[in-house]
């Protein structure tokens, strides 16, 4: 079903004037607009005809004998009346009521979602396989396709957010030919006619003067169509271009293998991983990140104390989530990372790795080893790699030179990793071209005047070309500039033909995933704005008469599927599964890589000139949430913060605090919510960009990290003017890194820029919030945290001074629970003891004596829901946040509101830095997703005066929006601060929309920066188009009500109905997946019935286990309740994170902690600075002496408590 269902639009091909484009969404359902152009048009309306037919004879007698003047008067009045009747507002729109059940397809049950498999091409190649939830023909939510080898049911930020892009009201709506004068909307028929005529001229010239500039996509069908176009115009130039592409990797693999190859990793096989400025887990090319996350997580899932883990070394210049998860993170500027790689190679060769050909000889001549590189560290890593030969992995990232990439390929081969942890697939020809060459070539063609007509498909070179290409000026030289794009952009604005492209969710197509899996793209809905797909556009350009995306794809796959009879069944099954052809195991790469790498390395010099320092800075260009900038109009992605800097709605030049101090560009007080960055000019090779500076601990010294994709000038309501465009200064051959940059104070303009972050405080302040330990300590004490204690000591520790026995597990012994006396309730908790209580985390250990357990209250039957979040698996990627946003109709609030601390995300990912202070040379990062934890003793419930937040019989804390009056008392009393208040009409009013009286306010210069300050009745409502995204199972909240995580109660209810219909006694474990759980790429979130003892689930190491998965998680020794000492008895529990440092690189303090993980006061004297109170504190507990992950020396803080006990004579 589609918009075609709307009868008022059926049969009336819309011809809205282009100047009304912005308002086009509101014209749906309004008849007659097109008529009111003039009297001629108006006279042709049915009313007028009717009047002519019926009224005229009657009126004829009236004008008998009258003058011509009277006739004209009557005529004029009648026409005016007829016209007025058609003006919207004077007449109710003519809607006929037609029940959906009359026309509904057989399989559709109104109110019940249907799921279709499709796939999504990724910028730069690769794809994700999707499963799309549709309600009555309206896609509302995207999930990963469980059958697709890339996704396996999981999804990325970008696939989750693609649903919002589909319904973006700022998308291009009609083809527009600009030279015709006004921006008049055309039809695709016009486009076909015009192109046929125009391109016919080039056929004779074999395409001379034609230039095609497209993005890099992996799609066989597109390849076929491109071939057809090239066949028609053999002399046309075709450039494939990816603005944020990793050219160095292509060049590096060409050096190593003789042809461009792409790495496909199997992280599940890797014991030791070394990344060199490569973000394997979040921004890896072509959707590789999802399988990488899966493989990585498979080796980090610790269940019992005997389990092992992989070890990850990250050497990087900027923060990536990979670095945050690393067991050892070394921060080095990009050129130093290269030096490190060479040093590592030399050390490996020295320690005896074989099969490297001439490499040893060549490397022996290079002078690797900067002052910043510690030889002992390199030696230890090399030793570790050699010890796990064949089960290791080294990966180089986009800031590294091709030589280093080639060297890494050679090392992987020499270490025997090829085939086990890494394999290689040849890149398709379309993706093998270097982007920097492509854009330079295209610019050259344009500048030389050879290009008459340029066709840009899905690219935005006017925005993202380097300053050196001077693309915008060259682009204007082409006579005809045909730009096809899904969304509005800078290149579209400079075009002569603006062609709307269909979104991947509304068109036919196919994709090729990184591992070679071929998948269909199926339309979930007819194109919303009359757009054509890329395939169809190429069909038109190829001169085809009737182009139909479906037929194109089918034709392409005729040859790939079984011939004859079987094809139809295969085709249907492939569409159903979302997979045409599964990826094949790639063949072994050509040998001789080491020699080729040696050849390359022989010309590699320690980039002394590039060494950053006083003479210049190095700049790293990263792709953040907005990718290369194409996602800039997606409000969800704008509001999702960067995982580490936590900046939303902006980019900034990020530097380390020490570098910021040296350059005098520190931002304002970092604890301040109204944070400001100092505006600076970042100058590279004469080009410059002005943007705010921002200090982030843990970035390499003398390195500036700048996210790309911001600073769009033509984009839409959301993305226009957000952030700063760094593409002009990314002008090198390898665009992701630049050197010899300078930072200067910004001259003109404001000196400060408001930077909105979702988290202003980065230190845990010595509180046991995210708990971490090391594998060595877990292995020794995970099974028995009281190991090695005498009976007397054990008694002292397990029985507190009130006589409560407290069998704390490993994680709990690391936190407050080991210090606070057990809570003794004066009243029976209705949630307690209803059945056998789960044996974890503030559960049994802090439960009152079992004599209190009476018969279970009647209401407390059925499943008891709970969630477990494994902090060892969480990589902080924020996919849970955006998945939750999509599922639960969570509004975006915009930059100014984020700056005020009013973001609405129901699940947020807290990020904490650990280390001495913000100048700590090697800070670690810990992530913790926090949503409502559904406390059994919920502090929010008692304080609400109107009973708007109440407890459900299944352990959920319900939020009753209708009942809420918005006192916000619940949010104040929530220790987890997970409640979100609708301070304004976020949910129903348009973000950055218009309002009545804007003109008047503009004229006096009083337009408020925050449109929310305009009373909602005067503000533009949410677009009808945007509303189509809303999940019909979830309420859209009005202003003035509180909201929070519901454990996806709508999904639970659906599962309950479903299981009832199937005649099941209970909802089977795993039948309900919360949105965050479903999307989480590492499976860190598990949801289910915590009392379920009868289900069976597979364990990580093989074998079965009784009970629900969440129950098993809660039984683990790693599980603890966040702030459990408050006796809130949260249903969401966390599992402590474990790092696996190399014993050779751990210092004495850390090793001491492996033996005595629960000991206090082992820290150095420096650790005192976090301790409050006049007496100062001791050190930290836990593993790392310089980590403030763990609570501080409680002995010191407990002094008052102990004093009271001694006064009472109660102390043992």
């Amino acid at each position: 079903m589609s918009m075609d269902q709307c009868h008022s639009t059926v049969g009336h091909p819309a011809k809205p004037a282009a100047k009304l484009r912005a308002a086009a969404h509101s014209q749906v359902g309004v008849t007659g607009r097109a008529y009111w152009r003039g009297l001629d048009d108006a006279a042709d309306v049915p009313e007028f005809r009717e009047w002519l037919e019926r009224e005229f004879p009657a009126g004829a007698s009236m004008i008998d004998g009258d003058t011509r003047r009277t006739f004209l008067k009557l005529m004029g009045a009648s026409v005016a009346l007829a016209g007025a009747a058609t003006i919207p507002g004077c007449r109710r729109p003519d809607h006929k009521i037609m029940p959906y059940s009359r026309t509904v397809p057989e399989e559709v049950i109104p109110g019940k979602a249907l799921y279709y498999a499709t796939s999504m091409p990724l910028p730069g190649g690769g794809a994700e396989g999707l499963l799309v939830e549709t309600h009555e023909g309206r896609p509302t939510k995207v999930e990963g396709n469980p059958l697709h080898p890339t996704n396996r049911g999981k999804s990325s930020l970008w696939s989750q957010a693609s649903i919002l892009e589909l319904y973006d009201p700022d998308r291009l709506k009609d083809p527009i030919y600009v030279p015709s004068g006004a921006d008049v909307a055309r039809s695709w028929q016009d486009v076909s006619l015009w192109t046929r005529e125009h391109f016919e001229k080039f056929v004779a010239k074999q395409g001379q003067g034609l230039v095609f500039l497209t993005d890099r996509r992996s799609s066989p069908a597109l390849g076929v169509m491109q071939a057809r176009v090239e066949e028609r115009f053999p002399k046309a130039r075709w450039f494939a271009y990816d603005a944020a592409g990793d050219d160095a990797a292509i060049e590096g693999s060409t050096i190593a293998f003789g042809r461009p190859m792409r790495e496909v990793f199997k992280l599940e096989n890797a014991d030791v991983i070394v990344t060199l400025d490569r973000d394997l887990l979040m921004h890896d090319c072509g959707g590789n990140a999802l399988p990488n996350c899966r493989g990585f997580a498979a080796r980090r899932k610790l269940v019992s104390a005997s389990d092992t883990m992989n070890r990850l070394y990250a050497v990087e210049s900027s923060w990536t989530v990979t670095g945050a998860k690393a067991d050892h993170r070394l921060r080095l500027s990009p050129s130093q990372v290269g030096v490190f790689a060479v040093a590592l190679a030399k050390e490996l060769l020295r320690q005896g790795v074989a099969g490297t050909g001439r490499l040893a000889e060549v490397l022996g001549r290079t002078n690797a080893g900067g002052a910043e590189i510690d030889g002992a560290v390199v030696a230890a890593i090399a030793k570790d790699l050699l010890a796990h030969r064949g089960r290791t992995l080294i990966a180089a990232g986009p800031t590294q030179s091709p030589e280093i990439h080639a060297l890494v390929h050679a090392l992987n081969s020499a270490l025997g990793n090829v085939g086990s942890t890494v394999s290689y697939r040849p890149l398709p020809a379309s993706e093998s071209v270097l982007s920097s060459e492509a854009i330079a070539g295209a610019a050259e063609e344009l500048a030389s005047g050879r290009c008459d007509t340029i066709v840009c498909i899905n690219v935005n070179p006017v925005y993202d070309a380097p300053a050196s290409a001077n693309f915008a000026a060259a682009f204007a030289k082409a006579r005809e500039r045909i730009v096809a794009s899904v969304g509005d952009n800078e290149t579209v604005a400079a075009a002569t033909w603006r062609l709307p492209l269909a979104h991947a969710l509304e068109s036919w197509g196919d994709t090729e995933a990184v591992d070679g899996t071929l998948s269909p793209i199926q339309p979930m809905i007819a194109p919303l704005f009359g757009a054509k797909s890329e395939l169809e556009l190429l069909g038109i350009l190829a001169g085809d008469e009737n182009v139909d995306g479906y037929e194109i794809v089918r034709t392409v796959y005729r040859s790939r599927g079984p011939a004859g009879e079987g094809f139809e069944a295969w085709w249907r099954r492939s569409l159903h599964n979302g997979v045409f052809v599964a990826g094949e195991a790639p063949a072994a790469p050509p040998l001789g890589g080491a020699d080729r790498a040696a050849q390359a390395m022989s010309t590699w010099r320690t980039p002394a000139a590039q060494l950053p320092g006083e003479q210049g800075l190095e700049v790293v260009f990263t792709t953040g949430n907005l990718g290369d900038g194409r996602f800039a109009n997606c409000a969800w992605l704008q509001e999702i913060p960067d995982p580490v800097s936590k900046i939303a709605w902006d980019n900034a030049a990020m530097v380390s605090p020490a570098t910021a101090e040296r350059l005098g560009i520190e931002q304002t007080d970092p604890t301040d919510k109204k944070q400001k960055g100092r505006m600076i000019r970042l100058v590279v090779n004469g080009a410059e960009v002005t943007l705010p500076a921002w200090a982030v601990p843990g970035i390499a010294e003398n390195t500036v990290v700048v996210p790309l994709g911001y600073g769009r000038t033509v984009c839409g309501h959301v993305g226009t003017g957000v952030g700063f465009n760094a593409y002009p200064i990314a002008s090198g051959r390898h665009r992701r890194v630049a050197s010899r940059a300078k930072i200067e104070r910004a001259g003109d303009g404001p000196a400060w820029h408001n930077v909105s972050t979702t988290q202003s405080h980065g230190s845990m302040e010595g509180r046991a919030i995210v708990r971490e330990s090391d594998l060595a300590a877990w292995s020794s004490f995970g099974a028995d945290p009281f190991k090695g204690l005498s009976e007397e000591e054990k008694t002292r520790l397990t029985v507190d001074s009130y006589g409560n026995k407290r069998d704390l597990n490993f994680a709990e012994r690391l936190g407050e629970l080991s210090h606070t006396p057990a809570n003794i309730n004066a009243y029976t908790n209705p949630q307690r003891g209803l059945r056998e209580p789960p044996s974890v985390s503030g559960g049994a250990s802090l439960a009152a004596p079992s004599s209190e357990t009476g018969t279970p209250p009647d209401f407390a039957r059925g499943p008891q829901w709970g969630m477990s979040i494994d902090l060892n698996l969480c990589i902080g990627c924020n996919v849970c946040t955006v998945a939750c946003q999509a599922e639960n109709n969570i509004p975006v609030v915009g930059k100014i509101e984020v700056n005020k601390g009013r973001e609405m995300h129901w699940i947020r990912v807290d990020r904490y830095f650990t280390g001495h202070d913000r100048h700590d040379p090697s800070p670690e990062v810990a992530f913790q997703p926090v949503a409502c934890v559904h406390c059994e003793n919920a502090p929010c419930e008692t304080v609400c005066p109107v009973n708007a937040t109440v407890h459900g019989p299944e352990g959920m804390n319900y939020m009753v929006y209708n009942r809420c009056i918005g006192t916000r008392y619940c949010a104040n009393n929530c220790p987890y601060k997970v409640r979100r208040f609708n301070f304004f009409d976020y949910g129903v009013k348009k973000l950055n929309g218009e309002f009545i009286g804007k003109g008047a306010m503009d004229s006096v210069g009083a337009t408020p920066a925050n449109v929310n300050l305009i009373p909602p009745r005067l503000r533009e409502r949410l677009d009808e188009i945007t509303k189509l995204q809303m999940n019909p199972d979830v309420t859209v909240r009005s202003r003035g009500v509180m909201e929070k995580c519901t454990y996806c109660v709508q999904r639970v209810n659906e599962a309950r109905i479903e299981s009832k219909l199937k005649g099941l006694n209970a909802i089977p474990d795993g039948m309900v997946q919360t949105a965050c759980q479903q999307a989480c790429p590492t499976d860190a979130i598990v949801f289910g019935d915590i009392y379920d003892t009868t289900s069976e689930h597979a364990e990580a190491g093989g074998g079965k286990r009784m009970g629900s998965r969440v129950r098993a998680m809660r039984d683990s020794g790693r599980t603890y309740s966040l702030l459990g000492f408050l006796n809130t008895r949260p249903r969401t529990t966390y599992m402590l994170a474990v790092r696996n440092p190399n014993p050779e690189l751990a210092d004495a303090d850390r090793k001491h902690m492996w033996e005595h993980p629960f000991e206090h006061g082992q820290g150095s004297e420096d650790a005192h600075e976090h301790a409050p109170g006049a007496g100062g504190g001791g050190g930290h507990t836990g593993v790392s002496p310089d980590s403030s992950n763990f609570d501080q020396d409680k002995a010191e803080q407990d002094s008052g408590y102990r004093l009271s006990l001694s006064v009472l004579g109660a102390h043992a």
Binding site: T671, K673, K674, S760, H761, S763, E765, G766, R767, T820, K900, G901, E903, D910, R911, Y912, D917, P939, T942, V943, C944, P945, V946, N947, C964, I965, G966, T967, R968, Y969, A971, N972, Y976, R979, F981, F983, F984, N1012, L1013, P1015, R1039, G1040, V1041, M1042, L1122, L1123, T1128, E1169, H1170, P1172, G1173, D1191, K1194, Q1197, D1198, S1199, G1200, Y1201, R1202, S1204
Partner: protein
């Protein structure tokens, strides 16, 4: 009862032309009415050796005579502020709570600060009327009426904030236990609901108390208007309207007097009712602010979850309320003729002593919070006090600490205004200087506002999880709403002085020496 029209001397005195003869009035040993070292000597409660008639003339004169030239500009200013405040409230209701600076970390800030502040102000009146009445403190007579009025107006201002701070004000009826089709009752466990009951009860009883006390005085005003009406000499209400002001007064005050005829039976009933209402009000003085403190004390937020809160809040409320009484009465006695004879330095000194006592009590509470935070051994608790409130950045720097309190200035304003400034009252010089008392009472008013701000904002802005720490910054709407309620408060108070009997005439007459059955004491004593 006297009903003689004002004689020439009195009217001259009321208009300020004639000054009372101080030589007769003031006992040389008690100076201007303040206490002296000799405990056997008590200064007169009303100076200038006034008679019963003088009291009637003076008090009724405030209502019947045109006020001085200062009145209109001042009233214009404060009523404009009241108007601005009303507009801000309207804007808030139309647009959303987001026009204030609140956020998801700090969900209450100025709204509840202002609520608790005004409720605290509202405590002095009932304390003076009820508790001091029961304790037979005769010096209360000349300040109780104004203090009660202040209570009413402060509670009106206070009640505004919980009403408008909610997100959906149109659904606020749901806090009342109204039987409805949904069968949903309010949550009786919520302290906010207790607030609803406590504040509305307090307001009702205070209003009754205030009104009942005024009935005899309304009757006096009625009778005087009737007499002048019969003389038919007064001005008309407005040009072209043949309605004399005195007729209007007689009618309005007549309705308000509810048929009071000064009969002995009336007086007997009145006295009984008065003492009963005083008895009913006394526990309310203690309960209202205790219950307001439960909003915080029953929560689990460090800095709020404090068992010391109920007595600490009550002491603070009396402290702040007395400061506000002084802040209003000291300018009034300068501006209104003869008011200094009724509100003497002795009154001021007594109130200064109460401020000193209650100020020291809150100071003790502030100290105890720190002690308990340390004694509990709870890191979250001590962090709130040390790192959210106490430590200024420059001290942190000296101590080499990473953290400091962003709102340290608020905390130190509170300490210096509430704990340090009242300590001046240990010295008689300051205790008996209206200027010094006024300065301290203003400081205390500011300090008490900051006390509530410190309790509310500094506790929640950095609570348990550092990942969700935030800051609160007031918006212009925040500020103007608060300033607007000050305007509403002073506007109402000025209207009270202008149209209602600002002193309890009969009670003042009771404490005059003439009322004493021991005539030989009349020279210098009014009370033992």
């Amino acid at each position: 009862m006297s009903s003689i029209p004002p004689d020439e001397i009195t009217s001259g005195r009321l208009s300020g032309a004639l000054r009372p003869d101080r030589a007769i009035a003031i006992d040389p040993r008690t100076g201007d009415g303040t206490l002296i070292d000799d405990p056997s000597l008590r200064p007169a409660l009303v100076l200038s050796n006034r008679g019963f008639h003088d009291i009637t003339e003076t008090v009724c004169g405030y209502v019947e005579q045109r006020p001085g030239g200062w009145w209109l500009p001042v009233f214009g200013l404060v009523s404009t502020l009241a108007g601005v405040g009303t507009l801000m409230i309207l804007y808030l209701l139309v647009t959303g709570v987001g026009v204030w600076g609140l956020n998801n970390q700090v969900d209450w800030a100025w709204d509840i600060t202002n609520f608790v502040f005004w409720i605290g102000i509202g405590h002095a009146g009932t304390l003076i009327s009820a508790i001091l009445c029961l304790l037979k403190q005769k010096w209360r007579t000349s300040i109780n009426r104004a203090a009660e009025a202040m209570t009413i107006f402060a509670v009106i201002c206070a009640g505004t904030f919980p009403g408008i701070h909610v997100g959906r004000v149109w659904m606020i009826w749901m806090v009342f236990p109204i039987p409805n089709a949904n069968g949903i009752w309010p949550n009786f466990r919520s302290p906010l609901l207790w607030d609803v009951f406590a504040v509305s009860t307090y307001f009702t009883v205070s209003l009754l108390f205030w009104y009942m006390g005024m009935i005899p005085d309304f009757a006096t005003l009625r009778d005087r208007a009737v007499l002048r009406m019969r003389a038919a000499s007064g001005p008309t209400v407005a040009p072209f309207i043949n309605l004399r002001q005195d007729s209007l007064r007689a009618w309005i005050y007549g309705v308000l007097a509810m048929g009071w005829r000064f009969s002995t039976r009336h007086w007997q009933n009145y006295e009984k009712a008065y003492i009963m209402l005083a008895g009913v009000s006394t526990p309310l003085v203690l309960s209202v602010h205790s219950i307001v403190s439960f909003d915080f004390a029953t929560s689990i937020v460090p800095g709020w979850h404090t068992t010391i809160f109920p007595p600490y809040f009550v002491a603070g409320a009396i402290f702040g309320g007395f400061a506000m009484v002084l802040g209003l009465m000291i300018p009034a006695r300068e501006l209104y003729p003869n008011m200094k004879e009724l509100i003497t330095l002795r009154h001021l000194e007594n109130m200064a002593k109460i401020i000193l006592v209650t100020g020291s009590m809150v100071g003790f509470a502030y100290f105890m919070e720190f002690f308990i935070a340390w004694y509990s051994g709870n890191q979250y608790e001590s962090d709130v006090f040390v790192y959210n409130r106490l430590l200024p950045p420059f001290i942190s720097e000296v101590l080499g600490l990473e953290r400091s309190a962003p709102y340290w200035w608020a905390y130190w304003i509170m300490i210096s205004c509430n704990v340090l400034s009242p300590q001046l009252f240990w010295f008689k010089r300051f205790r008996t200087s209206p200027m010094a008392i006024f300065a301290v009472s203003m400081a205390v008013t500011v300090g008490m506002w900051f006390e509530r701000f410190v309790i509310i904002v500094t506790s929640i802005h950095r609570a348990f999880l550092p990942g969700e720490w935030g800051m609160f910054f007031p918006t212009p709407v925040d500020i103007l709403t608060f300033v607007g309620t000050i305007g509403i408060f002073i506007t109402l108070f000025m209207l009270f002085l202008r149209f209602l009997p600002a002193f309890a005439m009969s009670e003042i007459k009771n404490v005059l020496p003439q009322a004493s059955p021991h005539p030989h004491h009349t020279a210098h004593a009014g009370q033992h």
